[in-house]
């Protein structure tokens, strides 16, 4: 009995160590690399915006602005009151842009979490156990590769509900496939290593080897895929929203562009489309820059997906 807590402690300890190492390593790597630094600064800025966006937005993004003569302030250009102009329905573009930051990062980070947790688990399990477990998991991965994500999303959201929850869930359920494949192949080569084989001969249990020996070694890949999946899911979620299948209760950059396009307002109010697009590019590019820098410095052997 007495050995169990000790085992548990060391297991938690080494995992904690590797997690904190994982948290610090990207920082050390990014520091001194221009591309990585730029990405990090932009992402931190966006995180702050996501937190305080609604507080600093000059207007409620849903409030329609009525002119003094009683008409709707529709598709107005930039002015002192509306630095980025108004929408077709007289709503403030800047406020929508600020509030939309939260949706984008929420979708990005939550989806990436599902992707990394699922992908890492599947990759580790398939790679470590091999045999029929591997066959089944990899066939499932093949099948998921056969699902075209945007068309699939359109149908699922129509059948179920157009909500941010389902969008995140569905993107996470598809995008783990790349992560799982790469982690599996990494595990296959790790298994050849001495330290894993010696752990096996000393009779360590499978879950113990997976958690203690393999997981810490694949965590850098998981981190990388966290960055990439954040980027993919923000772009895909915006595409879904642009086609009109986004969450109608939330202000998002994708839905801003959907509304602008659908009301034929792009020529009168180009900022309504240009700004959310630029925000997406900025957000996604920042996580890709971080991912690529990390990939180059931490593990040049990987063939990145960014």
């Amino acid at each position: 009995m007495s050995t169990i807590p000790i085992d548990g402690d060391t297991r938690a300890g080494s995992l904690l160590d590797s997690l904190s190492e994982l948290a610090m390593r990207p920082y050390r790597i990014l520091r001194g690399n221009r591309m990585g630094e730029v990405g990090l600064v932009i992402l931190l800025g966006l995180l702050v915006l996501a937190m305080i966006g609604p507080a600093i937005a000059p207007y409620d993004p849903a409030t329609k602005d009525i002119n003094e003569d009683g008409t709707l302030a529709s598709n107005e250009g930039p002015s002192a009151e509306h630095p980025l102009g108004t929408t077709r329905y007289g709503r403030d573009v800047l406020s929508q842009l600020l509030v939309g930051t939260r949706s984008a990062l929420l979708v990005g980070f939550l989806t990436a979490t599902i992707v990394v947790v699922t992908g890492t688990t599947v990759g580790l399990t398939a790679g470590y156990y091999g045999g029929w477990v591997d066959s089944i998991l990899m066939r499932i991965t093949d099948i998921v590769y056969g699902i075209p994500i945007l068309p699939f999303a359109i149908i699922v959201l129509t059948m179920l509900e157009r909500s941010i929850f389902w969008i995140i869930f569905m993107l996470g359920l598809i995008y783990w496939r790349n992560c799982a494949r790469i982690i599996r192949s990494e595990v296959l080569s790790l298994k050849e290593n001495e330290f894993v084989q010696s752990a096996e001969t000393t009779g360590a249990s499978a879950p113990r080897i997976i958690v203690k020996q393999l997981l810490p070694n694949v965590l850098p890949i998981s981190f990388l895929y966290f960055a990439f999946a954040t980027g993919w899911s923000i772009v895909t979620a915006a595409s879904i929203a642009f086609l009109g299948f986004g969450d109608p209760t939330r202000v998002s950059w994708g839905r801003m562009m959907f509304a602008a396009w659908n009301t034929n307002s792009v020529l009168q109010q180009p900022l309504w489309v240009a700004m959310p697009g630029l925000m997406i590019i900025l957000t996604v590019a920042s996580v890709y820059f971080i991912g690529r820098t990390y990939e180059q410095v931490a593990n040049p052997r990987l063939q990145g997906d960014s």
């Binding site: 093949d142 056969g146 945007l150 149908i155 895909t236 642009f242 562009m257 180009p270 489309v273 240009a274």
Partner: protein, 324 residues
């Protein structure tokens, strides 16, 4: 196992994948909470028409009968009539699949041609050219296809009026057949903006991958050896460095096909391109579910066949492949 056995096995796996995706669709369409007919049938239609359609499409049958009928329709490619266009779903899609493949194929072809050559050049030349290419590629990869499509549409279509703002050909133009249409200047003129909207996004992936692989391959001994043999620089670059870097490019092609399928849905919608993607979006919005279901399956088949073709290509370009 030899190459033939390997290919046969991959083909069988592809068929299984198509089957599983088809079953998934059935589940999604029929097992949703609530009355399946309510989900499937447009509430805009009046009661008697709804009843008649439910009967015609077998929606009031027990589920297992519905499933058998559905799988039979997948195998025979007979998906019945569209709810809104009085025409068999198969005829509608057959007319449009060519348009989709044409747009997607052109985009992918250009993306791979430019992506691999620019990526290879960046790795070969290095320095500031490489940095500029790298940063541009990451920005391309971050730019949503629909946003670029909108920007190009408004700048070159509406504003400058250099290119048409939608459709495949002029409304007044008549063509004797598909090939006649495709090889017309009119068509190419319509093709420019949709293709330009997708190429940057599609090409970023092969570009970045090609660059990374080239940088690794350039350090290989056989590259030094080729130089030592007195092989000309451009041949070392093309025949050895670039040729070897193509291997991962082919293995990852399914990822790009996946991107292209999504991209096509978006540009078809924006440029009113009569393809399968736009058909899908419209069918879903109109609750024209036989059409939506079949359009989705057709897109899935494009993806799955794309994956299979990549497998085939790989057996051709890598002599070391082992079939286990």
């Amino acid at each position: 196992m030899g190459a033939k056995g390997y290919i046969a096995r991959r083909a069988a796996q592809s068929v299984v994948t198509i089957f599983v995706v088809a079953v998934l669709m059935f589940v999604l369409f029929r097992l949703m909470p609530g009355d399946p007919t309510a989900v499937a049938l447009s509430p805009a239609l009046d009661e008697s028409v709804q009843q008649e359609m439910a009967r015609q499409y077998g929606l009031n049958q027990p589920l297992h009968i519905q499933f058998i009928r559905y799988m039979a329709s997948v195998v025979t490619l007979d998906f019945g009539y569209s709810f809104f266009q009085n025409e068999p779903v198969r005829d509608i899609l057959m007319r449009r699949i060519g348009n989709t493949l044409l747009l997607m194929g052109t985009g992918l072809l250009l993306a791979y041609a430019f992506g691999t050559s620019i990526g290879a050049l960046a790795a070969w030349k290095r320095g500031s050219f490489d940095t500029r290419v790298l940063v541009s590629a990451v920005l391309f990869r971050s730019t949503p296809v629909f946003w670029l499509a909108l920007v190009l549409l408004y700048v070159f279509g509406f504003h400058l009026e250099w290119f048409p703002i939608g459709h495949m050909v002029d409304a007044e133009a008549t063509y004797s057949g598909f090939l006649d249409k495709v090889f017309s200047v009119d068509f190419l003129h319509h093709l420019v903006l949709p293709v330009l909207s997708t190429v940057p996004f599609y090409m970023a992936y092969p570009l970045l991958l090609m660059r990374t692989t080239m940088l690794r391959i350039e350090g290989e001994d056989f590259i030094t050896m080729a130089h030592a043999k007195g092989v000309r620089d451009r041949d070392v670059f093309a025949k050895h460095a670039a040729r070897n870097s193509l291997l991962p490019i082919v293995t990852t092609a399914p990822i790009v096909v996946g991107l292209a399928v999504a991209g096509n849905v978006l540009v078809e919608t924006i440029y009113s391109w009569p393809g399968v993607g736009r058909t899908l979006v419209q069918a879903v919005l109109q609750s024209d579910y036989p059409l939506a279901q079949a359009a989705f399956l057709m897109i899935a088949v494009i993806v799955i066949v794309g994956n299979f073709v990549a497998d085939l290509l790989y057996t051709v370009i890598d002599p070391r492949i082992t079939y286990d």
